[in-house]
């Protein structure tokens, strides 16, 4: 039954992807940014779908299982303010520049704003490198879910592979337009499935108050904010700032038909976040009742185990579909962003397309995506951190790059040297902390303060110092990017 529902769901996803390819207009602009024709509601659901991944379902419930409801304060309510605020302050401005100058990738904008090809190359490498852990979150989530829900019948590597193949199929067919319509469908699925799963489990446990009473009797600290340090709560505000530098969200911003489309996203985002995170957090905490002793990577399966215990069969299949929806909806946008970046920032910018036919250009772009996905797939067999930790490290890297886009948009004096210094600071710092096992001095991690704070401050400082020590941007660049504001 479970497998049948999952198979049906995958068939529907492919069908929506293929159907949306029928409205594909056959131009590069339609493939990469849906001809900048997307309305308010589709922009909201596709942005939200592209942002949320198994991190918000499996990762959030696993973290809540261990640390309680405070995880909602750490990630959800901070994202509810920071993400839409960045849509308003950064997204609208990026959209305006994209429309005026025809940009489809971040690198195109930064290369032009900072007048530097070298910055473009470095940023391309760093952005692709930081996307890898984001891709990994999706692969791990899909693999774990399918393996758990089928009792090991579908091995986790096979689940991960399935995601790669399905996403490659429909992004190749429909481009951005197809991806956005599939995302709209998927976002609806995971919003509904979370609420249904919570209702079923809470009923099975005798109602919300009774279930909370059981948790309070054994693990009272999970129902308070006591396990969350002051420094941790403060520095977690920076984690959602990563939305300002995600390549796939950047590309989604460019799809809006009019600037006013952003209004719905700005107001609707906090509500969507609450709708997704509330069931995840509550189910994670309630998981303590039936599964009191999960540890390590096992905790990432608490949501699936709960559903499997209280509502096997139909709901298990639906939950798997919901989790796969969350995975697909961000994974597809990332895949499309990778292909777009490679085609525009490497192949076309460096003139390689002059030596290729259009068909060869497409094949090379797809090959690049396949290679990156193969690396992500290989890493998913090897990495051990939890989905939540992996997500936090990924978001830390992107958040620490935020000073670059803020400086590009709001600081006339910002230069390529500053942006390069900031990018390299983040790349080296992140690599040292994540891959090199580096640790920050105790003073910088007091009260649970997260490394994102140190990295972001270092990146901002590098941006400022590098800019002030180098020649200001040319008058032509300033005139193009900072036109005189008309009075309101």
């Amino acid at each position: 039954m479970t497998l049948l529902i999952v198979a049906l769901y995958l068939a529907v996803v492919l069908a929506v992807g293929v159907a949306s390819s029928r409205v594909f207009r056959g131009t590069g602009e339609d493939f990469f940014v849906a001809s900048r024709s997307i309305g308010p509601l589709l922009l909201l659901v596709s942005l939200f779908g592209a942002h949320m991944t198994s991190f918000s379902l499996l990762g959030a419930s696993a973290e809540a299982y261990q640390r309680g409801v405070g995880v909602f304060a750490l990630m959800a309510s901070s994202s509810a303010v920071v993400a839409p605020l960045l849509f308003l302050l950064v997204g609208t401005r990026v959209w305006a520049l994209g429309k005026r100058f025809g940009y489809v990738t971040q690198v195109q904008y930064f290369r032009a704003r900072f007048e530097s090809d070298a910055l473009g190359v470095v940023l391309f490498v760093v952005l692709v490198g930081l996307l890898l852990p984001y891709l990994l979150i999706g692969l791990l989530g899909a693999g774990l879910t399918l393996s758990q829900i089928t009792g090991g019948l579908v091995a986790d590597w096979l689940g991960s592979l399935l995601v790669v193949l399905v996403v490659l199929a429909y992004t190749t067919y429909g481009g951005m337009r197809g991806t956005m319509w599939v995302n709209a469908f998927q976002t609806s699925v995971f919003l509904v499935v979370g609420a249904v799963a919570l209702t079923v489990v809470v009923r099975a446990l005798g109602g919300l108050e009774a279930a909370m009473g059981q948790v309070a009797a054994t693990q009272p600290q999970l129902l308070t904010l006591a396990p969350i340090g002051r420094g941790e709560l403060l520095t977690y505000l920076l984690i959602p700032a990563s939305v300002g530098m995600f390549p796939h969200l950047f590309q989604h911003w460019l799809t809006a038909e009019r600037a006013s489309a952003f209004r719905v996203s700005v107001i609707g985002y906090p509500l969507c976040i609450a709708m997704v995170w509330l069931p995840s957090i509550l189910l994670g905490v309630l998981g303590r009742i039936d599964f009191p002793a999960l540890a390590g990577r096992e905790t990432s399966t608490v949501l699936v185990r709960l559903i499997d215990l209280h509502a096997p069969g139909l709901l298990s299949g639906l939950l798997a579909a919901g989790i796969l929806s969350a995975v697909f909806s961000s994974f597809d946008s990332q895949v499309l962003a990778l292909g777009t970046m490679f085609t525009h920032d490497v192949v076309r910018h460096h003139g390689l397309h002059d030596r290729m036919t259009s068909r060869q250009e497409v094949v090379v772009g797809r090959l690049f995506v396949v290679v990156v996905l193969a690396v992500a797939f290989a890493l998913s067999r090897w990495v051990t951190p939890s989905i939540f930790k992996l997500g936090i490290w990924c978001f830390t890297g992107f958040a620490a790059l935020l000073p670059i886009v803020l400086a590009a948009l709001f600081w006339r004096r910002a230069t390529a040297v500053g942006a390069l210094a900031a990018t390299l600071t983040v790349a080296l710092g992140w690599t040292w902390l994540v891959l090199g096992g580096g640790t920050l001095p105790a003073a910088l991690t007091a009260a649970g303060a997260m490394p994102v704070a140190t990295l972001t401050v270092a990146s901002a400082a590098a941006m400022v110092v590098g800019s002030l020590l180098s020649r200001p941007p040319s008058a032509a660049t300033l005139a193009a990017f900072f036109p005189a504001e008309e009075p309101r």
Partner: protein, 100 residues
Amino acid sequence: MIRASLVAGLVAALLALHQLDPLGLRTAAAEPRLFLGLPLALAYHLGYCLLAAGALALALRWAWPTALLRTAEASVPRPAGEGPAAPATGAARSLGQPGS
């Protein structure tokens, strides 16, 4: 300037509500109180999300970059990868070759 100050004040108030602990939910001795069946800490932050949506609606009124967006909407969009012929160097080259 007034609008910018209003938005800054609004954001500061939102961040303060996120960080401050008016109900004593973060003290080690905090009891797990419930509100409408939900842990009070969770109910507080759920309410915070709703408040954020309202506050952001106000921020939209005060911080909407009207002039910038009007200029962009009035401009003829350049199709991706089909910008004008490349000028010699620097910003103009990159600006003129969006798809490059």
